[in-house]
Amino acid sequence: MVEPDKQDHPIMAIDRDGLNALIQRLAAEGYQVIGPRVEDAAVVLGPVAGVADLPAGWTDEQSGGHYRLVADGKGEAGALFGYTLAAQGWKRYLHPPRTRLWQAHREGRSWRVEAEAAPQRYAFLGVRACELSAIGVLDRVFDNGQFTDPGYAARRSGTFIVAVNCGRAAATCFCASMDTGPKAHAGFDLALTELPGEDRAGFVVEVGSPAGAAMLQAIPHGPAAAADIDAAERAVATATAQMQRAAGGREMVADAAGVLSRNAEHPLWEAVAARCLGCGNCTAVCPTCFCTSVEDTTDLSGEVAERWRRWDSCFTLDFSYIHGGSVRRGTASRYRQWITHKLSYWHEQFGTSGCVGCGRCITWCPVGIDITEEARALAESEGRT
C-alpha cells in the first residue's frame, strides 16, 4: 500500500474487495449508500450493502421506447457496471418526488411554522459522467444567485459521490456531443473505471476531493499499473467512439440552442404533437427537469398544516393554468416548451444546457420521440446541415 499524495493524487487501483470495503466504510461513516441493483428486469438505484448487491453480469439494450436487461454471460464474474444508466437517476434523492417543505400548528388565531429537520446523508455509487453534469445543473437551479433551496443544499452538501466512467454507450447515449461524458472530469469524490476483459475485474481510481482521498486511505488500495491506466482510457474511448454519428451512434446537432430559439414558429410542433401522448415520462426520467408543484394539507383536526412539494411536468395542461385557462393549451406548445427549455432557454437561465445527453427521454418515451432527431429535423429545415 502506498500513501496517496494529497497534492497531486496519483492514479490508484482497487479490486472488488476494495469496493466492498468502500461501501461498508461509507455506511460506517453514516452515509446511506445508494447504488445500482437489478429489480423488475431493470437496473434501478436503491440502497446497497455490498458488492453482492450490484448488477454483476448485466448489461442493457436501449433504443427509442425500448429498454431490455441482457446478461453478459459471465454471471457473478461479469462487469458490475456493464449497464449504462439506471431508469431513474439520482434526482430522486437530491430533489425527491415528494418533500415536505414545512409544518405549521394552529395557535389560537395565529400559527407556528416549523422548518424541516436535516436530511439523510447519501453516498452515491455509480454516478455516470452525464449524471454528474446533471447534478451540476441542478446545483445551479437550486442556488440561482438570488435564492437557495435549503433542503436541496442540505441534501447535496452531505452527499459523497463515487462516479463510474462508461466503457460502453447505449444506442440512446449522446453525452460526447453534449461534452458531458463519457468520462467524469470533476464533481466527484472518487471516480472509478472498471477494467474490461478479465473475470472479477478491478477498478482504476481517481481522487476528486479531500473527502475522496481520505476515504481511499481507509480502504485497501494500491497504485494503478500503467497497463491498467491504459486499459481504462481505452474503455472510455470505446464509449466515445460508439456515440459517433458516422459510426451509427447518436449526436446532438451543432448549435441546438440557436436552432430552437429561431424556430418557435414551425410546422414540426404540430407534427410532434400528433405523436406525443403528453404523458410526461420524459420529464420524470430527465435528470435535470426540476419543475414542481406544491400542495397544502391539514390533518383531520385542522390544527396542523403541511406544505408538500412534488414533481410536476410541463406536459400537463394544469401546469400553465391561470384564471381563464391554461397558457399552453395544446401538446404542440408543451412539447415546444420542453425541448426549447432543455436546449435553448436553459443557457440563458443557467449558463448551461439543460440536456446532458443521457438519452433517458428517448428510451422511456412510449412512442420513442427522440430529442436529437427533433432538433436535427429543425436544423435541417433551416438548410444548414
Binding site: 395565529s110 440561482n144 435549503p150 426540476f290 437561465q349
Partner: protein
C-alpha cells in the same frame, strides 16, 4: 432614455417559510374583490417597490401570488387587493380581522418609477390591473414635482367592476393628474365613456416623445394597449407591462412561471416591452 425593468433582492433566510401577518382591516371593493391591510406578527416594517408581489397563504389551503396594492411610502401597513376566483383566494377572503395570513416576499421586478422622473407618465389599467399600478401612482403623486403630466387610463367591463371608486373620484378631482375611465358595457346610470381602453390612449394628454407607460391588465388588453401606445409614439423601450403566469414558488425553483427564457417571478412580473416583444407575439409561450 434607457430604462430597464429593475429587480431588488428580497430578505435572506429560508425563502420557503412564510412570515405571519395579522389582518387589521378588510374592505369589500366589489362583489368578488376585497382589499386587506395586514401587519407583521413579529413587528417591523415591510419595504417593497411598486409592482412587486407577495405569495399569500391561507392555513392548510394553499398559496397564491398577489400584487402589493398599498403605498410604498407607508411600510407599516401591507395592502393587497384580491379577486376571488378559486379555492385559495376564497380562503383568504374568508379571513377576518385578527386572523393570520402567511406572507413570502416581496418578489419580482418593479415599475421603474424613479427612472421615469422628468417624463410624462401614462398608466393603462384594465380591471384588477389597477391594483399593481396603485403603489406607483402613490409614489409618483408623493413626488409630483419631478414628473410631467400624469395620466391614468382605466378600463373595466362594467361600471360595477371599477376598483377603488372613491379614490378614482378623488383622483379625477385633482388638477395635477388626469384620470379617464371607460367601460366595455354601460349599465345602470353610467354616463361616462363606453368602449375599450385604447380609445382613451388615442385621446392623448401626454407628450408622445417624453412619456413612459406602465400597463397592467388582461394579456389581450395589454396587446392592444401596447400597439396603440406605439401608434401614438410611445415606443417599446418606454412601455412597461406586468405579466401573469402560474406560480408555485416565486423563487425560480418550480418552473411554472416560465415565459420563454425568463421566470416571471424573478425577471418579471414587470418587463420592458421591447425585451419580450418577440415572445409576446408567439402563440402559447
Amino acid at each position: 432614455m434607457d430604462i430597464a425593468a429593475p429587480t431588488i433582492r428580497p430578505p435572506s433566510g429560508d425563502p420557503m417559510l412564510p412570515r405571519l401577518f395579522r389582518i387589521e382591516r378588510v374592505k369589500k371593493e366589489l362583489s368578488d374583490t376585497f382589499t386587506m391591510e395586514i401587519t407583521p406578527a413579529d413587528g417591523g416594517p415591510f419595504h417593497f417597490r411598486p409592482g412587486q408581489f407577495n405569495m399569500l397563504s391561507a392555513f392548510g389551503v394553499g398559496e397564491v401570488p398577489i400584487s402589493i396594492s398599498g403605498d410604498p411610502g407607508d411600510p407599516e401597513l401591507l395592502v393587497h387587493t384580491t379577486r376571488v376566483v378559486g379555492s385559495v383566494t376564497a380562503a383568504i377572503c374568508a379571513l377576518k380581522p385578527g386572523d393570520t395570513v402567511g406572507v413570502r416576499g416581496p418578489f419580482g421586478s418593479h415599475w421603474p418609477v424613479e427612472d421615469a422622473r422628468g417624463a410624462d407618465v401614462v398608466f393603462v389599467a384594465g380591471g384588477i390591473g389597477l391594483a399593481p399600478l396603485r403603489p406607483a401612482i402613490y409614489q409618483i403623486m408623493a413626488d409630483r414635482e419631478h414628473y410631467g403630466n400624469v395620466v391614468i387610463f382605466y378600463g373595466s367591463r362594467t361600471p360595477e367592476d371599477l376598483l377603488y371608486r372613491r379614490e378614482l373620484q378623488r383622483w379625477r378631482g385633482r388638477f395635477d393628474m388626469s384620470t379617464e375611465i371607460i367601460v366595455d358595457r354601460a349599465t345602470g346610470h353610467w354616463g361616462g365613456r363606453v368602449g375599450v381602453v385604447t380609445k382613451l390612449i388615442r385621446g392623448g394628454g401626454f407628450d408622445r416623445h417624453h412619456s413612459i407607460a406602465f400597463v397592467c391588465g388582461p394579456e389581450v388588453m395589454m396587446r392592444f394597449a401596447v400597439q396603440t401606445l406605439g401608434e401614438c409614439g410611445v415606443t417599446g423601450d418606454r412601455v412597461f407591462l406586468s405579466m401573469e403566469r402560474n406560480m408555485k414558488c416565486a423563487l425560480g425553483f418550480c418552473g411554472h412561471c416560465q415565459f420563454g427564457p425568463t421566470f416571471v417571478c424573478r425577471d418579471g412580473p414587470v418587463y420592458r416591452y421591447d425585451a419580450i416583444e418577440r415572445l409576446f407575439n408567439v402563440w402559447e409561450v
